[in-house]
Symmetry: C2
Subunit: 297 residues, 2 copies
Protein backbone atom coordinates (compact mmCIF):
# COMPACT_ATOMS: atom_id res chain seq x y z
CA UNK A 1 0.00 0.00 0.00
CA UNK A 2 0.96 3.67 -0.35
CA UNK A 3 2.71 5.37 2.57
CA UNK A 4 0.22 6.65 5.11
CA UNK A 5 -0.25 10.41 4.83
CA UNK A 6 -2.83 13.17 4.72
CA UNK A 7 -6.26 12.76 6.27
CA UNK A 8 -7.24 9.45 7.80
CA UNK A 9 -10.93 9.60 8.70
CA UNK A 10 -12.10 7.64 11.77
CA UNK A 11 -15.85 7.03 11.82
CA UNK A 12 -17.91 5.51 14.62
CA UNK A 13 -19.09 1.91 14.17
CA UNK A 14 -22.85 2.03 14.66
CA UNK A 15 -24.05 -1.03 16.60
CA UNK A 16 -27.17 -2.06 18.48
CA UNK A 17 -27.51 -2.69 22.21
CA UNK A 18 -26.21 -6.24 21.75
CA UNK A 19 -23.09 -5.11 19.91
CA UNK A 20 -24.32 -6.07 16.43
CA UNK A 21 -22.92 -3.73 13.76
CA UNK A 22 -25.54 -1.85 11.70
CA UNK A 23 -24.34 -2.49 8.14
CA UNK A 24 -26.57 0.12 6.46
CA UNK A 25 -25.61 2.83 8.92
CA UNK A 26 -21.92 1.99 8.54
CA UNK A 27 -22.22 2.29 4.76
CA UNK A 28 -23.96 5.67 5.14
CA UNK A 29 -21.05 6.88 7.26
CA UNK A 30 -18.36 5.53 4.91
CA UNK A 31 -19.72 6.64 1.54
CA UNK A 32 -19.16 10.39 2.05
CA UNK A 33 -15.60 9.69 3.25
CA UNK A 34 -14.66 7.71 0.17
CA UNK A 35 -16.47 10.21 -2.07
CA UNK A 36 -14.61 13.13 -0.48
CA UNK A 37 -11.31 11.47 -1.26
CA UNK A 38 -9.86 11.19 2.21
CA UNK A 39 -6.39 9.65 2.14
CA UNK A 40 -7.42 6.66 4.24
CA UNK A 41 -10.25 5.44 6.44
CA UNK A 42 -9.57 4.23 9.97
CA UNK A 43 -12.22 1.66 10.77
CA UNK A 44 -12.58 0.32 14.30
CA UNK A 45 -10.38 2.93 15.91
CA UNK A 46 -10.99 3.94 19.51
CA UNK A 47 -13.94 6.04 18.36
CA UNK A 48 -14.96 3.04 16.27
CA UNK A 49 -15.31 1.16 19.61
CA UNK A 50 -13.13 -1.75 18.52
CA UNK A 51 -12.47 -2.65 22.14
CA UNK A 52 -16.21 -3.21 22.71
CA UNK A 53 -17.03 -5.41 19.70
CA UNK A 54 -16.69 -9.17 19.35
CA UNK A 55 -14.31 -10.78 16.93
CA UNK A 56 -17.21 -11.76 14.67
CA UNK A 57 -18.62 -8.25 14.55
CA UNK A 58 -15.20 -6.75 13.93
CA UNK A 59 -14.74 -9.13 10.99
CA UNK A 60 -18.22 -8.21 9.70
CA UNK A 61 -17.45 -4.50 9.99
CA UNK A 62 -14.26 -4.87 7.94
CA UNK A 63 -16.06 -6.84 5.24
CA UNK A 64 -18.89 -4.29 5.08
CA UNK A 65 -16.40 -1.43 4.88
CA UNK A 66 -14.13 -3.05 2.30
CA UNK A 67 -17.11 -3.67 0.06
CA UNK A 68 -18.52 -0.16 0.56
CA UNK A 69 -15.19 1.56 -0.09
CA UNK A 70 -14.43 -0.67 -3.06
CA UNK A 71 -10.72 0.09 -3.11
CA UNK A 72 -11.22 3.84 -3.56
CA UNK A 73 -9.34 4.61 -0.34
CA UNK A 74 -6.89 2.54 1.81
CA UNK A 75 -8.59 0.88 4.76
CA UNK A 76 -6.87 0.86 8.17
CA UNK A 77 -8.46 -1.37 10.79
CA UNK A 78 -8.05 -1.44 14.57
CA UNK A 79 -6.85 -4.92 15.58
CA UNK A 80 -5.93 -4.27 19.21
CA UNK A 81 -6.75 -6.81 21.91
CA UNK A 82 -5.63 -7.64 25.45
CA UNK A 83 -4.16 -10.99 24.37
CA UNK A 84 -1.40 -11.32 21.77
CA UNK A 85 -3.01 -14.38 20.15
CA UNK A 86 -6.32 -12.53 19.83
CA UNK A 87 -4.62 -9.53 18.18
CA UNK A 88 -2.97 -11.94 15.73
CA UNK A 89 -6.35 -13.49 14.89
CA UNK A 90 -7.87 -10.03 14.44
CA UNK A 91 -5.02 -9.03 12.09
CA UNK A 92 -5.54 -12.20 10.06
CA UNK A 93 -9.32 -11.60 9.98
CA UNK A 94 -8.86 -7.98 8.90
CA UNK A 95 -6.41 -8.95 6.16
CA UNK A 96 -8.75 -11.66 4.86
CA UNK A 97 -11.70 -9.24 4.89
CA UNK A 98 -9.89 -6.59 2.86
CA UNK A 99 -7.98 -4.31 5.23
CA UNK A 100 -4.84 -2.62 3.88
CA UNK A 101 -3.22 -2.14 7.29
CA UNK A 102 -3.90 -2.76 10.95
CA UNK A 103 -3.82 -0.28 13.81
CA UNK A 104 -2.28 -1.92 16.86
CA UNK A 105 -2.61 -0.29 20.27
CA UNK A 106 -1.04 -1.97 23.33
CA UNK A 107 -4.36 -2.44 25.13
CA UNK A 108 -3.63 -3.30 28.74
CA UNK A 109 -5.22 -4.47 31.96
CA UNK A 110 -2.13 -5.63 33.83
CA UNK A 111 0.32 -2.76 33.22
CA UNK A 112 2.81 -3.83 30.53
CA UNK A 113 6.58 -3.39 30.33
CA UNK A 114 8.43 -2.03 27.28
CA UNK A 115 9.86 -5.50 26.59
CA UNK A 116 6.34 -6.97 26.58
CA UNK A 117 4.95 -4.32 24.24
CA UNK A 118 7.87 -4.70 21.84
CA UNK A 119 7.35 -8.49 21.72
CA UNK A 120 3.59 -8.01 21.26
CA UNK A 121 4.16 -5.84 18.18
CA UNK A 122 6.67 -8.20 16.61
CA UNK A 123 4.46 -11.25 17.24
CA UNK A 124 1.39 -9.59 15.70
CA UNK A 125 3.33 -8.15 12.75
CA UNK A 126 4.89 -11.51 11.99
CA UNK A 127 1.94 -13.84 12.45
CA UNK A 128 -0.78 -11.38 11.39
CA UNK A 129 0.83 -10.70 8.00
CA UNK A 130 -0.86 -7.30 7.82
CA UNK A 131 1.15 -4.05 7.65
CA UNK A 132 0.79 -2.38 11.05
CA UNK A 133 0.42 1.16 12.30
CA UNK A 134 1.73 1.58 15.85
CA UNK A 135 -1.14 3.17 17.74
CA UNK A 136 -0.11 5.21 20.77
CA UNK A 137 -3.07 6.36 22.86
CA UNK A 138 -2.16 6.42 26.55
CA UNK A 139 -5.60 7.78 27.51
CA UNK A 140 -7.19 4.46 26.53
CA UNK A 141 -4.39 1.87 26.60
CA UNK A 142 -2.68 3.22 29.74
CA UNK A 143 0.66 2.39 28.22
CA UNK A 144 3.07 5.25 27.66
CA UNK A 145 5.55 4.81 24.80
CA UNK A 146 8.98 6.34 25.09
CA UNK A 147 10.30 7.80 21.81
CA UNK A 148 13.02 5.11 22.00
CA UNK A 149 10.47 2.32 22.08
CA UNK A 150 8.59 3.85 19.15
CA UNK A 151 11.92 3.94 17.33
CA UNK A 152 12.63 0.26 18.05
CA UNK A 153 9.16 -0.85 16.96
CA UNK A 154 9.34 1.36 13.84
CA UNK A 155 12.38 -0.71 12.81
CA UNK A 156 10.51 -4.03 13.08
CA UNK A 157 9.50 -5.63 9.75
CA UNK A 158 5.89 -4.87 8.88
CA UNK A 159 5.51 -1.65 10.89
CA UNK A 160 4.59 1.05 8.37
CA UNK A 161 3.65 4.13 10.42
CA UNK A 162 2.83 5.44 13.87
CA UNK A 163 -0.27 7.19 15.19
CA UNK A 164 0.67 9.29 18.19
CA UNK A 165 -1.16 11.72 20.43
CA UNK A 166 -0.48 15.22 19.06
CA UNK A 167 1.72 17.28 21.38
CA UNK A 168 0.42 20.47 22.97
CA UNK A 169 0.41 23.06 20.16
CA UNK A 170 2.74 25.31 22.15
CA UNK A 171 5.40 22.58 21.93
CA UNK A 172 4.43 21.02 18.59
CA UNK A 173 7.75 21.55 16.82
CA UNK A 174 9.81 20.02 19.64
CA UNK A 175 7.34 17.16 20.18
CA UNK A 176 7.20 16.19 16.51
CA UNK A 177 10.97 16.53 16.13
CA UNK A 178 11.65 14.27 19.14
CA UNK A 179 9.49 11.53 17.64
CA UNK A 180 10.95 11.90 14.16
CA UNK A 181 14.47 11.74 15.58
CA UNK A 182 13.64 8.35 17.12
CA UNK A 183 12.47 6.64 13.91
CA UNK A 184 14.16 5.92 10.57
CA UNK A 185 14.15 8.80 8.08
CA UNK A 186 10.88 8.92 6.20
CA UNK A 187 8.97 6.68 8.61
CA UNK A 188 5.53 8.35 8.75
CA UNK A 189 4.36 9.64 12.13
CA UNK A 190 0.82 10.95 12.15
CA UNK A 191 -1.25 12.40 14.95
CA UNK A 192 -4.59 12.20 16.67
CA UNK A 193 -6.34 14.45 19.19
CA UNK A 194 -8.10 16.66 16.64
CA UNK A 195 -7.82 19.89 18.64
CA UNK A 196 -4.01 19.67 18.72
CA UNK A 197 -3.26 18.27 15.28
CA UNK A 198 -3.01 21.33 13.00
CA UNK A 199 0.20 22.52 14.68
CA UNK A 200 1.59 18.96 14.60
CA UNK A 201 0.96 18.85 10.84
CA UNK A 202 2.62 22.23 10.37
CA UNK A 203 5.57 20.87 12.36
CA UNK A 204 5.93 18.02 9.88
CA UNK A 205 3.43 15.37 10.98
CA UNK A 206 2.72 12.93 8.15
CA UNK A 207 -1.00 12.41 8.75
CA UNK A 208 -4.05 13.44 10.72
CA UNK A 209 -5.92 10.49 12.23
CA UNK A 210 -9.16 12.35 12.71
CA UNK A 211 -12.41 11.77 14.58
CA UNK A 212 -13.94 14.95 13.09
CA UNK A 213 -12.77 13.72 9.69
CA UNK A 214 -15.06 10.71 10.15
CA UNK A 215 -18.06 13.03 9.85
CA UNK A 216 -16.71 16.17 8.16
CA UNK A 217 -14.11 15.04 5.65
CA UNK A 218 -14.15 18.17 3.48
CA UNK A 219 -13.70 20.47 6.45
CA UNK A 220 -10.71 18.48 7.66
CA UNK A 221 -9.25 17.95 4.19
CA UNK A 222 -9.17 21.73 3.75
CA UNK A 223 -6.78 22.00 6.71
CA UNK A 224 -4.60 19.10 5.57
CA UNK A 225 -4.37 20.52 2.06
CA UNK A 226 -3.58 24.02 3.28
CA UNK A 227 -0.67 22.63 5.32
CA UNK A 228 0.53 20.54 2.38
CA UNK A 229 0.45 23.66 0.16
CA UNK A 230 2.52 25.60 2.68
CA UNK A 231 -0.44 27.85 3.49
CA UNK A 232 0.26 27.76 7.18
CA UNK A 233 -1.77 30.79 8.16
CA UNK A 234 -4.77 29.58 6.21
CA UNK A 235 -4.53 26.19 7.96
CA UNK A 236 -4.40 27.95 11.33
CA UNK A 237 -7.40 30.10 10.44
CA UNK A 238 -9.46 27.10 9.35
CA UNK A 239 -8.48 25.28 12.53
CA UNK A 240 -9.37 28.31 14.68
CA UNK A 241 -12.85 28.34 13.14
CA UNK A 242 -13.34 24.82 14.51
CA UNK A 243 -12.49 25.80 18.08
CA UNK A 244 -16.15 25.44 19.22
CA UNK A 245 -16.05 21.84 17.98
CA UNK A 246 -12.71 21.20 19.70
CA UNK A 247 -14.12 22.62 22.93
CA UNK A 248 -16.99 20.13 22.75
CA UNK A 249 -14.53 17.28 22.09
CA UNK A 250 -12.31 18.28 25.00
CA UNK A 251 -15.25 18.75 27.36
CA UNK A 252 -17.43 15.73 26.54
CA UNK A 253 -14.95 13.42 24.70
CA UNK A 254 -14.87 13.24 20.92
CA UNK A 255 -16.45 9.77 20.95
CA UNK A 256 -19.57 10.85 22.80
CA UNK A 257 -19.86 14.07 20.75
CA UNK A 258 -19.64 12.38 17.34
CA UNK A 259 -22.29 9.84 18.36
CA UNK A 260 -24.62 12.76 19.07
CA UNK A 261 -23.61 14.48 15.82
CA UNK A 262 -24.19 11.39 13.66
CA UNK A 263 -27.67 11.22 15.16
CA UNK A 264 -28.33 14.95 14.63
CA UNK A 265 -27.15 14.64 11.02
CA UNK A 266 -29.58 11.75 10.44
CA UNK A 267 -26.77 9.30 9.60
CA UNK A 268 -27.63 6.78 12.30
CA UNK A 269 -29.38 6.49 15.63
CA UNK A 270 -26.72 4.37 17.32
CA UNK A 271 -25.68 4.83 20.92
CA UNK A 272 -22.20 4.02 22.25
CA UNK A 273 -21.77 0.58 23.86
CA UNK A 274 -22.78 0.54 27.55
CA UNK A 275 -21.37 1.41 30.04
CA UNK A 276 -20.56 4.44 27.84
CA UNK A 277 -23.69 6.59 27.77
CA UNK A 278 -25.09 9.01 25.21
CA UNK A 279 -24.70 12.64 26.21
CA UNK A 280 -27.62 14.22 28.08
CA UNK A 281 -30.20 16.32 26.16
CA UNK A 282 -28.82 19.69 27.27
CA UNK A 283 -25.38 18.83 25.88
CA UNK A 284 -26.91 17.47 22.68
CA UNK A 285 -28.74 20.80 22.28
CA UNK A 286 -25.43 22.62 22.67
CA UNK A 287 -23.86 20.33 20.06
CA UNK A 288 -26.78 21.00 17.70
CA UNK A 289 -26.24 24.77 18.08
CA UNK A 290 -22.52 24.37 17.39
CA UNK A 291 -23.10 22.27 14.27
CA UNK A 292 -25.59 24.82 12.92
CA UNK A 293 -23.21 27.68 13.59
CA UNK A 294 -20.18 26.13 11.91
CA UNK A 295 -20.16 25.28 8.22
CA UNK A 296 -19.04 21.67 8.49
CA UNK A 297 -19.05 19.32 5.54
CA UNK B 1 -23.72 -15.49 52.31
CA UNK B 2 -21.80 -14.34 55.41
CA UNK B 3 -20.42 -10.79 55.45
CA UNK B 4 -17.06 -10.59 53.75
CA UNK B 5 -14.22 -10.41 56.27
CA UNK B 6 -10.81 -11.79 57.18
CA UNK B 7 -8.51 -13.26 54.55
CA UNK B 8 -9.68 -13.57 50.97
CA UNK B 9 -7.08 -15.55 49.02
CA UNK B 10 -6.57 -14.71 45.34
CA UNK B 11 -4.81 -17.46 43.38
CA UNK B 12 -3.59 -17.31 39.80
CA UNK B 13 -5.64 -19.15 37.18
CA UNK B 14 -3.19 -21.49 35.42
CA UNK B 15 -3.91 -21.62 31.69
CA UNK B 16 -2.10 -22.75 28.57
CA UNK B 17 -0.82 -20.59 25.72
CA UNK B 18 -4.29 -20.66 24.12
CA UNK B 19 -6.02 -19.46 27.27
CA UNK B 20 -7.41 -22.88 28.28
CA UNK B 21 -7.62 -23.23 32.07
CA UNK B 22 -5.61 -26.14 33.54
CA UNK B 23 -8.19 -27.82 35.79
CA UNK B 24 -5.74 -30.01 37.70
CA UNK B 25 -3.36 -27.17 38.40
CA UNK B 26 -6.22 -24.95 39.55
CA UNK B 27 -7.38 -27.67 41.97
CA UNK B 28 -3.82 -28.00 43.30
CA UNK B 29 -3.79 -24.26 44.01
CA UNK B 30 -7.24 -24.21 45.63
CA UNK B 31 -7.02 -27.21 47.92
CA UNK B 32 -4.47 -25.75 50.37
CA UNK B 33 -6.53 -22.54 50.57
CA UNK B 34 -9.72 -24.35 51.51
CA UNK B 35 -7.81 -26.65 53.86
CA UNK B 36 -6.16 -23.69 55.58
CA UNK B 37 -9.57 -22.20 56.30
CA UNK B 38 -9.18 -18.87 54.53
CA UNK B 39 -12.32 -16.76 54.93
CA UNK B 40 -12.99 -16.64 51.20
CA UNK B 41 -11.35 -17.41 47.89
CA UNK B 42 -11.17 -14.76 45.18
CA UNK B 43 -11.15 -16.61 41.88
CA UNK B 44 -10.49 -14.73 38.64
CA UNK B 45 -9.25 -11.59 40.30
CA UNK B 46 -6.71 -9.40 38.52
CA UNK B 47 -3.98 -11.87 39.47
CA UNK B 48 -6.39 -14.56 38.29
CA UNK B 49 -6.15 -12.94 34.82
CA UNK B 50 -9.93 -12.68 34.42
CA UNK B 51 -9.48 -9.94 31.84
CA UNK B 52 -7.50 -12.31 29.59
CA UNK B 53 -9.80 -15.34 29.64
CA UNK B 54 -12.81 -16.07 27.44
CA UNK B 55 -16.32 -16.31 28.82
CA UNK B 56 -16.24 -20.10 28.37
CA UNK B 57 -12.98 -20.50 30.24
CA UNK B 58 -14.14 -18.20 33.03
CA UNK B 59 -17.28 -20.32 33.41
CA UNK B 60 -15.16 -23.48 33.43
CA UNK B 61 -12.83 -22.04 36.08
CA UNK B 62 -15.76 -21.23 38.38
CA UNK B 63 -17.22 -24.71 37.98
CA UNK B 64 -13.86 -26.35 38.67
CA UNK B 65 -13.31 -24.15 41.73
CA UNK B 66 -16.82 -24.60 43.14
CA UNK B 67 -16.46 -28.34 42.91
CA UNK B 68 -12.95 -28.33 44.40
CA UNK B 69 -13.91 -26.08 47.31
CA UNK B 70 -17.12 -27.97 47.95
CA UNK B 71 -18.74 -25.21 49.97
CA UNK B 72 -15.97 -25.16 52.58
CA UNK B 73 -15.19 -21.49 51.89
CA UNK B 74 -17.21 -18.71 50.14
CA UNK B 75 -16.23 -18.24 46.51
CA UNK B 76 -15.86 -14.71 45.09
CA UNK B 77 -15.46 -14.49 41.32
CA UNK B 78 -14.22 -11.66 39.11
CA UNK B 79 -16.99 -10.80 36.62
CA UNK B 80 -15.61 -7.56 35.19
CA UNK B 81 -15.84 -6.81 31.47
CA UNK B 82 -15.65 -3.79 29.18
CA UNK B 83 -19.31 -4.11 28.18
CA UNK B 84 -22.17 -3.98 30.67
CA UNK B 85 -24.06 -6.79 28.95
CA UNK B 86 -20.98 -9.01 29.07
CA UNK B 87 -20.49 -8.33 32.80
CA UNK B 88 -24.14 -9.29 33.33
CA UNK B 89 -23.64 -12.56 31.45
CA UNK B 90 -20.48 -13.27 33.46
CA UNK B 91 -22.35 -12.65 36.72
CA UNK B 92 -25.12 -15.01 35.62
CA UNK B 93 -22.58 -17.61 34.55
CA UNK B 94 -20.70 -17.33 37.87
CA UNK B 95 -23.90 -17.64 39.88
CA UNK B 96 -25.00 -20.68 37.90
CA UNK B 97 -21.58 -22.30 38.33
CA UNK B 98 -21.56 -21.87 42.10
CA UNK B 99 -20.09 -18.47 42.96
CA UNK B 100 -21.23 -16.83 46.19
CA UNK B 101 -20.43 -13.29 45.08
CA UNK B 102 -19.01 -11.40 42.12
CA UNK B 103 -16.14 -8.95 42.07
CA UNK B 104 -16.97 -6.11 39.71
CA UNK B 105 -14.23 -3.73 38.56
CA UNK B 106 -15.10 -0.87 36.17
CA UNK B 107 -12.80 -2.09 33.41
CA UNK B 108 -12.37 0.71 30.89
CA UNK B 109 -11.00 1.53 27.48
CA UNK B 110 -12.85 4.76 26.80
CA UNK B 111 -12.45 6.64 30.10
CA UNK B 112 -15.74 6.39 32.03
CA UNK B 113 -17.67 9.02 33.98
CA UNK B 114 -18.99 8.53 37.52
CA UNK B 115 -22.56 8.41 36.17
CA UNK B 116 -21.59 5.63 33.77
CA UNK B 117 -19.83 3.56 36.44
CA UNK B 118 -22.77 3.95 38.83
CA UNK B 119 -25.21 2.76 36.14
CA UNK B 120 -22.88 -0.12 35.23
CA UNK B 121 -22.91 -1.39 38.82
CA UNK B 122 -26.67 -1.11 39.21
CA UNK B 123 -27.31 -2.86 35.87
CA UNK B 124 -25.00 -5.75 36.70
CA UNK B 125 -26.28 -6.08 40.28
CA UNK B 126 -29.89 -6.14 39.10
CA UNK B 127 -29.64 -8.39 36.06
CA UNK B 128 -26.75 -10.54 37.29
CA UNK B 129 -28.58 -11.57 40.49
CA UNK B 130 -25.25 -12.24 42.21
CA UNK B 131 -24.17 -10.31 45.34
CA UNK B 132 -21.40 -7.94 44.21
CA UNK B 133 -18.17 -6.68 45.69
CA UNK B 134 -17.19 -3.27 44.31
CA UNK B 135 -13.65 -3.73 43.06
CA UNK B 136 -11.56 -0.55 42.98
CA UNK B 137 -8.19 -1.04 41.28
CA UNK B 138 -7.18 2.12 39.41
CA UNK B 139 -3.84 0.59 38.34
CA UNK B 140 -5.70 -1.84 36.07
CA UNK B 141 -9.13 -0.29 35.42
CA UNK B 142 -7.88 3.30 35.08
CA UNK B 143 -11.01 4.49 36.80
CA UNK B 144 -10.57 6.38 40.04
CA UNK B 145 -13.48 6.12 42.50
CA UNK B 146 -14.24 9.06 44.75
CA UNK B 147 -15.30 8.06 48.29
CA UNK B 148 -18.71 9.60 47.45
CA UNK B 149 -19.18 7.30 44.47
CA UNK B 150 -18.19 4.28 46.57
CA UNK B 151 -20.79 5.44 49.09
CA UNK B 152 -23.52 5.73 46.44
CA UNK B 153 -22.74 2.30 44.97
CA UNK B 154 -22.53 0.75 48.46
CA UNK B 155 -26.18 1.81 48.92
CA UNK B 156 -27.35 0.03 45.77
CA UNK B 157 -29.25 -3.23 46.32
CA UNK B 158 -26.99 -6.25 45.93
CA UNK B 159 -23.66 -4.56 46.70
CA UNK B 160 -22.23 -6.38 49.72
CA UNK B 161 -18.67 -5.08 50.16
CA UNK B 162 -15.87 -3.06 48.57
CA UNK B 163 -12.33 -4.06 47.71
CA UNK B 164 -10.15 -0.95 47.64
CA UNK B 165 -6.45 -0.27 47.18
CA UNK B 166 -4.91 -0.03 50.65
CA UNK B 167 -3.78 3.48 51.51
CA UNK B 168 -0.13 4.25 52.15
CA UNK B 169 0.60 2.83 55.64
CA UNK B 170 1.65 6.27 56.88
CA UNK B 171 -1.92 7.48 56.24
CA UNK B 172 -3.81 4.25 56.83
CA UNK B 173 -6.07 5.51 59.62
CA UNK B 174 -7.20 8.58 57.69
CA UNK B 175 -7.59 6.66 54.43
CA UNK B 176 -9.68 3.89 55.95
CA UNK B 177 -11.76 6.38 57.96
CA UNK B 178 -12.53 8.45 54.83
CA UNK B 179 -13.85 5.37 53.05
CA UNK B 180 -15.84 4.13 56.04
CA UNK B 181 -17.40 7.58 56.47
CA UNK B 182 -18.71 7.38 52.90
CA UNK B 183 -20.54 4.05 53.23
CA UNK B 184 -23.39 2.87 55.51
CA UNK B 185 -22.34 1.72 58.99
CA UNK B 186 -21.12 -1.86 58.90
CA UNK B 187 -20.65 -2.02 55.13
CA UNK B 188 -17.43 -4.06 54.79
CA UNK B 189 -14.48 -2.35 53.12
CA UNK B 190 -11.49 -4.59 52.53
CA UNK B 191 -8.14 -3.90 50.97
CA UNK B 192 -5.67 -5.17 48.42
CA UNK B 193 -2.05 -4.27 47.68
CA UNK B 194 -0.49 -6.82 50.05
CA UNK B 195 2.45 -4.67 51.12
CA UNK B 196 0.13 -1.94 52.45
CA UNK B 197 -2.69 -3.99 53.92
CA UNK B 198 -1.57 -4.76 57.50
CA UNK B 199 -1.88 -1.12 58.56
CA UNK B 200 -5.25 -0.86 56.77
CA UNK B 201 -6.49 -3.88 58.76
CA UNK B 202 -5.22 -2.36 61.99
CA UNK B 203 -7.08 0.82 61.04
CA UNK B 204 -10.33 -1.14 60.80
CA UNK B 205 -10.34 -2.66 57.33
CA UNK B 206 -12.80 -5.57 57.13
CA UNK B 207 -10.78 -7.91 54.92
CA UNK B 208 -7.50 -8.55 53.15
CA UNK B 209 -7.90 -9.44 49.48
CA UNK B 210 -4.52 -11.06 49.14
CA UNK B 211 -2.31 -12.22 46.29
CA UNK B 212 0.22 -13.71 48.73
CA UNK B 213 -2.71 -15.41 50.46
CA UNK B 214 -3.34 -17.31 47.23
CA UNK B 215 -0.07 -19.20 47.78
CA UNK B 216 0.70 -18.77 51.48
CA UNK B 217 -2.63 -18.85 53.30
CA UNK B 218 -1.25 -19.72 56.75
CA UNK B 219 1.33 -16.96 56.66
CA UNK B 220 -1.34 -14.39 55.76
CA UNK B 221 -3.96 -15.80 58.14
CA UNK B 222 -1.49 -15.31 60.99
CA UNK B 223 -1.46 -11.57 60.31
CA UNK B 224 -5.24 -11.33 59.93
CA UNK B 225 -5.78 -13.27 63.17
CA UNK B 226 -3.26 -11.21 65.08
CA UNK B 227 -5.09 -8.03 64.04
CA UNK B 228 -8.47 -9.58 64.95
CA UNK B 229 -7.10 -10.53 68.39
CA UNK B 230 -5.89 -6.99 68.98
CA UNK B 231 -2.26 -8.11 68.81
CA UNK B 232 -1.24 -5.14 66.74
CA UNK B 233 2.48 -5.32 67.36
CA UNK B 234 2.56 -9.01 66.56
CA UNK B 235 0.74 -8.32 63.29
CA UNK B 236 3.26 -5.61 62.44
CA UNK B 237 6.16 -7.93 63.24
CA UNK B 238 4.77 -10.71 61.05
CA UNK B 239 4.21 -8.22 58.24
CA UNK B 240 7.73 -6.82 58.62
CA UNK B 241 9.14 -10.32 58.17
CA UNK B 242 7.46 -10.42 54.76
CA UNK B 243 9.12 -7.22 53.57
CA UNK B 244 11.44 -9.12 51.14
CA UNK B 245 8.30 -10.57 49.50
CA UNK B 246 6.63 -7.17 49.36
CA UNK B 247 9.75 -5.71 47.77
CA UNK B 248 9.55 -8.35 45.03
CA UNK B 249 5.84 -7.60 44.51
CA UNK B 250 6.45 -3.85 44.28
CA UNK B 251 9.44 -4.26 41.96
CA UNK B 252 8.22 -6.95 39.55
CA UNK B 253 4.40 -6.87 40.11
CA UNK B 254 2.70 -9.39 42.38
CA UNK B 255 1.15 -11.18 39.36
CA UNK B 256 4.47 -11.93 37.69
CA UNK B 257 6.10 -12.90 41.01
CA UNK B 258 3.39 -15.39 42.06
CA UNK B 259 3.52 -17.09 38.65
CA UNK B 260 7.23 -17.69 39.25
CA UNK B 261 6.56 -18.83 42.82
CA UNK B 262 3.83 -21.31 41.83
CA UNK B 263 6.32 -22.80 39.40
CA UNK B 264 9.13 -22.92 41.99
CA UNK B 265 6.77 -24.57 44.46
CA UNK B 266 5.88 -27.24 41.91
CA UNK B 267 2.19 -26.29 41.90
CA UNK B 268 1.97 -25.57 38.17
CA UNK B 269 4.12 -24.61 35.24
CA UNK B 270 1.76 -21.98 33.82
CA UNK B 271 2.94 -18.71 32.32
CA UNK B 272 0.90 -15.51 32.36
CA UNK B 273 -1.14 -14.76 29.21
CA UNK B 274 0.89 -12.99 26.52
CA UNK B 275 1.73 -10.13 26.13
CA UNK B 276 2.52 -10.48 29.85
CA UNK B 277 5.81 -12.34 30.09
CA UNK B 278 7.33 -14.60 32.74
CA UNK B 279 10.08 -12.94 34.73
CA UNK B 280 13.64 -13.46 33.47
CA UNK B 281 15.82 -16.19 35.04
CA UNK B 282 17.88 -13.82 37.19
CA UNK B 283 14.72 -12.46 38.84
CA UNK B 284 13.34 -15.97 39.28
CA UNK B 285 16.60 -16.89 41.05
CA UNK B 286 16.15 -13.92 43.38
CA UNK B 287 12.56 -15.02 44.06
CA UNK B 288 13.77 -18.55 44.81
CA UNK B 289 16.29 -17.20 47.32
CA UNK B 290 13.58 -15.09 48.99
CA UNK B 291 11.17 -18.01 49.26
CA UNK B 292 13.86 -20.20 50.82
CA UNK B 293 14.81 -17.50 53.31
CA UNK B 294 11.26 -16.78 54.49
CA UNK B 295 9.18 -19.42 56.23
CA UNK B 296 6.08 -19.14 54.05
CA UNK B 297 3.22 -21.59 54.27
Amino acid sequence: MRAISGLSAFPITPSDADGRVDADALRRLLEPLAAAGVDSIGLLGSTGTYAYLSRDERRRAVAIAAEAIGGRVPLLVGIGALRTDEAIRLAQDARAAGADAGLLAPVSYTPLTEVEVEAHFSAVAEAGRLPLVLYDNPATTHFRFSPDLIGRIARQPGIVAAKCAAPDPAHAAAGVAALQAAVPAGFPIGFSGDWNVTEALIAGGAAWFSVAGGLFPQTCLAIVRAVAAGETERARMLNAELEPLWTLFRTHSSLRVVYAMADLMGLCRAEPPRPIQPLPPEVVAEIARTVRHLSLS
